[in-house]
């Protein structure tokens, strides 16, 4: 009999469309960048694209958004935080632009004190390049967090939840995500 698929579905946790920047206004008139060749089309338009019923805004809010996914890594045997960021029109942001918005993950800190390292890697499910917090330090700091275990043998679900919460409390800081205290206090 061939292998049966695991009863649990494989997947990942996702948190999407998190706005990571303050809106800043871009004055339309000052924006003069064009792609070469784009001018042709606009000059050849005779008809009016705008009618009186169209609201034309004089400014334009540029916002950056971030998607976060938590994926389990079989190689490292730990959860890994994947992230990607983009502008409001969908244009992806590069790492240096992301780091401006999430200062905790900037690479300017000295390498010794920094434990989070952002690398570009293919998302295991979406098969596109995302950024991820490199997991090779994870098991080290998880050991630190898990020292001094509770007495008694907690149930697996509790251990898992505790693990994920602890993991996320450390990792989330790098990207500016925090767990509400209520969530930490409420667990059984």
């Amino acid at each position: 009999h061939p292998w049966l698929a695991s009863p649990e579905e494989e997947g990942y946790l996702s948190l999407e469309n998190i706005c990571i920047s303050r809106p800043y206004e871009v004055d339309i008139d000052q924006n003069s960048q064009t792609d070469p060749g784009e001018e042709e089309t606009s000059c050849s338009e005779k008809e009016d694209d705008i009618d009186d019923a169209t609201l034309v805004q004089s400014n334009h809010h540029e916002l950056h958004y971030c998607d976060f996914h938590i994926v389990y890594s079989y190689t490292f045997r730990v959860p890994v935080l994947y992230l990607r960021a983009y502008c409001s029109d969908g244009r992806p942001l590069l790492l240096d632009e992301i780091e401006k918005e999430l200062p905790a993950c900037s690479s300017k800190e000295s390498p010794e004190t920094k434990w989070a390292f952002i690398t570009q890697e293919e998302h295991p499910y979406l098969k596109r390049p995302w950024y991820k917090l490199h997991p090779c330090g994870t098991s080290e700091f998880m050991k630190l967090l898990f020292l001094g275990g509770d007495t008694g043998q907690p149930k697996l679900e509790v251990v898992l939840e505790l693990y994920l919460l602890s993991w996320f409390s450390a990792v989330g800081q790098v990207v500016g995500l925090r767990i509400p205290c209520k969530m930490l206090n409420d667990r059984r």
Partner: protein, 711 residues
């Protein structure tokens, strides 16, 4: 923009588009795998949701799911999950062209009219009552440049123009229009509507509030049943716009539908908006619009005009997005390659200087067993600029030991090694800047006829230029005499020079010391050529009195017995144990990286392994030896030091200054007259002052044609 009673023109905030990267990935994949050059229009879906934040509008989004699947399924209609409250789907059509010219040549007016006509037909046929999302049908034109990975695109959200335009009688937050009781009931009803997967994504609805303040949300097709005078009836729609004084674009076609279908002159509408997933009636707007329809609207055949091409930051130009960084395989390879080195720096070697590795230019003289391996090791360290010099062709036996070649390179007489090597490097890592030079290196003791003189001189000059334009030179040829000229030229210009040489079962890897006329980091020494005696002294030592390290020829000590046995060996020196070349090549590159990370670079003193005299093991990469000699039979390796010799035939100041004085003529003389160099430098003196050191095994350099230089 008016609020109350002024009856000004109702202005709508246009839809804003947002295209997820995944959409372009899938479009590229479809073009490459399925559609090819077929540019028929493609049905797609856009997704939007009601506004969810008081300060930010929502967008009409395209995702990978907006396109048909790129696997071989029969359906051309994209399959998506209905009932997703965050993704209300809207039908659209994509015209993707094959060239930039055809992109600019599309009849935009015509395409917009065609989509407007579809909306018009849906209004009159009753389709809207079944699937109201068709009122927000959209159009997208694009050109996907799959060579540069850039995508040019332009959205249009066709809106039927009311002529004369609708006027706004009143517009206020919904919480101010309803009573408190009504508002609560409306919120509840809307939340229920939005929470049910059957209705969550129906974007045009009726909201009726009875005289008992009880609200109900209904489908458009139930309009007839809502004709109760006691009721307030609002035409509601999911509004992605957040603005307090303007409704979103979707209302335009909704009004067109309402007046064409039901012939109403006054329309009360509700711009439905949410906050954190729940109906927000202070963000939502209720307005009253007056519509005057012209005669033409009753006639089905007469399609009204339409507007709707999206502005790009206020200008009527298409948008462009470049995704090379995430789609171009070469770019991805570059960032993956960098990753390894950066990880090394992060986890193990914080002082790793990647910038210098990325920027140095390496010249490899010889593209054989040593040259191929050194090139690969350099690339592994992040070196991107590599030039290989070799005048040979790839022979059938080469691919086994020379790791850049395969059988294909041997066919038809064999490609030139220099060109085949470059091709191979580019296949391994497309971003490498590799150049191949097919050239022989002029050698002393191999006299040239007068016809050949000019071409030999040309080669000398070319070699000199190559050395001048690179930062590091590797001497990886298979004869001793072929190393002479490069050594001299490098000593003259003080370039980092690394020699690797193989015997049958032993190897030598060494870095040449600085040239005789060098400026130390602290002191610039200008030496006029006439003061040869003074120069001699100065040249041997650095300012702190230490001798400069020697070159390959300074330290070349060959016991008489060895050179005799060497003479019988094949001049091509293919007879070495295969393991030697990879070992020696690897050490040569590691030695280079050590030099590049040493504060004194080429001037660095030699260190010996296991020395107790304060060798700088503080340097993160470890010690920086002068020479490494290895022996495979003993599986042993030793680090040695050899200082420069006053009588070195390649790097002593006599020779270098002679070269500086007479240039190519001097070279030619050395090439043509075997004893010239010995006479110039006084070789017996060299024998006397040569450094001696204990060796555990027979020192073996490699076979050499020993005619010219006897040591």
């Amino acid at each position: 923009m008016a609020k109350e009673g002024s009856g000004s023109i109702l202005q709508f905030a246009p839809f804003q588009s947002s295209v997820d990267e995944g959409f372009w990935h899938r479009l590229s994949s479809l073009k490459l795998n399925k559609f090819g050059i077929d540019d028929s229009p493609i049905p797609i879906s856009g997704f939007f949701a009601p506004c969810s934040h008081p300060q930010v509008s929502n967008y009409l989004t395209l995702l990978a799911e907006s396109l048909p699947s790129d696997s071989n399924e029969e359906s051309s209609i994209p399959a998506f999950n209905r009932g997703n409250r965050n993704r209300c789907s809207v039908p659209g059509i994509l015209y993707n062209t094959n060239t930039m010219e055809s992109f600019h040549g599309l009849d935009k007016q015509g395409l917009l009219k065609a989509e407007a006509k579809k909306i018009w037909e849906d209004i009159h046929s009753g389709k809207v009552l079944e699937d109201s999302a068709v009122l927000s049908r959209f159009l997208l034109i694009s050109f996907a440049d799959l060579k540069k990975w850039s995508f040019h695109y332009w959205f249009a959200f066709p809106a039927l123009i009311l002529d004369p335009p609708a006027t706004l009688v009143d517009l206020r937050p919904a919480s101010q229009w309803f009573t408190l009781e009504e508002a609560e009931s409306v919120s509840t009803a809307c939340n229920e509507w939005r929470n049910s997967s059957v209705t969550a994504d129906v974007p045009f609805i009726l909201v009726s509030v009875g005289s008992d303040s009880r609200a109900a949300v209904r489908h458009l097709k139930d309009w007839e049943t809502c004709q109760d005078d006691g009721q307030k009836l609002l035409f509601a729609f999911y509004d992605p716009c957040h603005l307090p004084n303007n409704p979103g674009w979707a209302l335009r076609n909704f009004l067109a539908f309402i007046c064409a279908r039901w012939n109403l002159k006054t329309v009360h509408f509700l711009c439905y908006r949410e906050n954190r997933g729940f109906a927000d009636l202070s963000l939502s707007l209720v307005g009253e619009a007056l519509i005057t329809i012209s005669q033409g609207w009753r006639e089905h055949q007469c399609v009204p005009n339409a507007v709707g091409w999206e502005l790009n930051k206020g200008r009527k130009v298409p948008r462009c997005i470049n995704l090379a960084k995430s789609m171009d395989p070469t770019r991805l390879a570059i960032s993956a390659a960098d990753l390894n080195l950066k990880l090394m720096r992060w986890r193990a070697l914080p002082s790793l200087n990647l910038d210098i590795l990325f920027s140095i230019k390496c010249l490899l003289l010889g593209a054989g067993t040593l040259g191929c391996q050194v090139a690969r090791m350099l690339m592994a360290w992040g070196v991107r600029k590599i030039t290989l010099v070799d005048n040979g062709r790839v022979a059938m036996s080469n691919p086994l030991r020379q790791s850049l070649y395969t059988l294909d390179d041997c066919l038809s007489g064999g490609d030139f090694k220099a060109t085949a090597a470059v091709r191979s490097l580019q296949r391994i890592f497309p971003a490498v800047v590799a150049e191949g030079v097919v050239m022989a290196i002029p050698m002393p003791g191999h006299p040239v006829s007068s016809q050949e003189e000019n071409s030999v001189l040309e080669d000398c000059r070319r070699l000199n230029d190559l050395i001048g334009s690179h930062d590091v030179i590797f001497l990886l040829t298979d004869t001793r005499e072929s190393r002479w000229l490069p050594t001299l030229l490098c000593a003259n210009t003080n370039k980092i020079t690394i020699t690797a040489a193989l015997g049958f079962d032993s190897f030598l890897v060494m870095r040449h010391g600085p040239g005789p006329f060098n400026s130390t980091p602290d002191l610039k020494v200008e030496m006029p050529n006439s003061l040869s005696a003074v120069m001699d002294n100065l040249a041997l030592t650095n300012t702190d009195g230490k001798q400069r390290l020697g070159c390959y020829f300074c330290n070349d000590v060959v016991a008489p017995t060895d050179s005799t046995s060497n003479r019988t060996l094949d001049q091509q020196c293919t007879v070495t144990r295969p393991g030697l070349a990879p070992i020696a090549s690897a050490l040569a590159v590691e030695l280079l990286v050590g030099i590049l990370h040493h504060p004194y670079g080429i001037f660095a003193e030699a260190e010996i392994a296991n020395s107790n005299n304060g060798g700088s093991s503080e340097l993160p990469l470890g010690i920086l030896p002068h020479q490494i000699r290895g022996s495979l039979p003993h599986f042993q390796q030793m680090t040695l030091v050899g200082h420069s010799s006053n009588s070195c035939t390649a790097c002593c100041c006599t020779v270098v200054s002679e070269y500086r004085k007479r240039g190519m003529q001097f070279i030619l003389q050395a090439i043509n007259h075997p004893t010239f160099l010995e006479d110039l430098t006084g070789l017996t003196e060299l024998m006397r002052s040569a450094n001696t050191f204990q060796l555990d095994w027979d020192d073996e350099i490699e076979d050499a044609d020993d005619e010219c230089i006897e040591l």
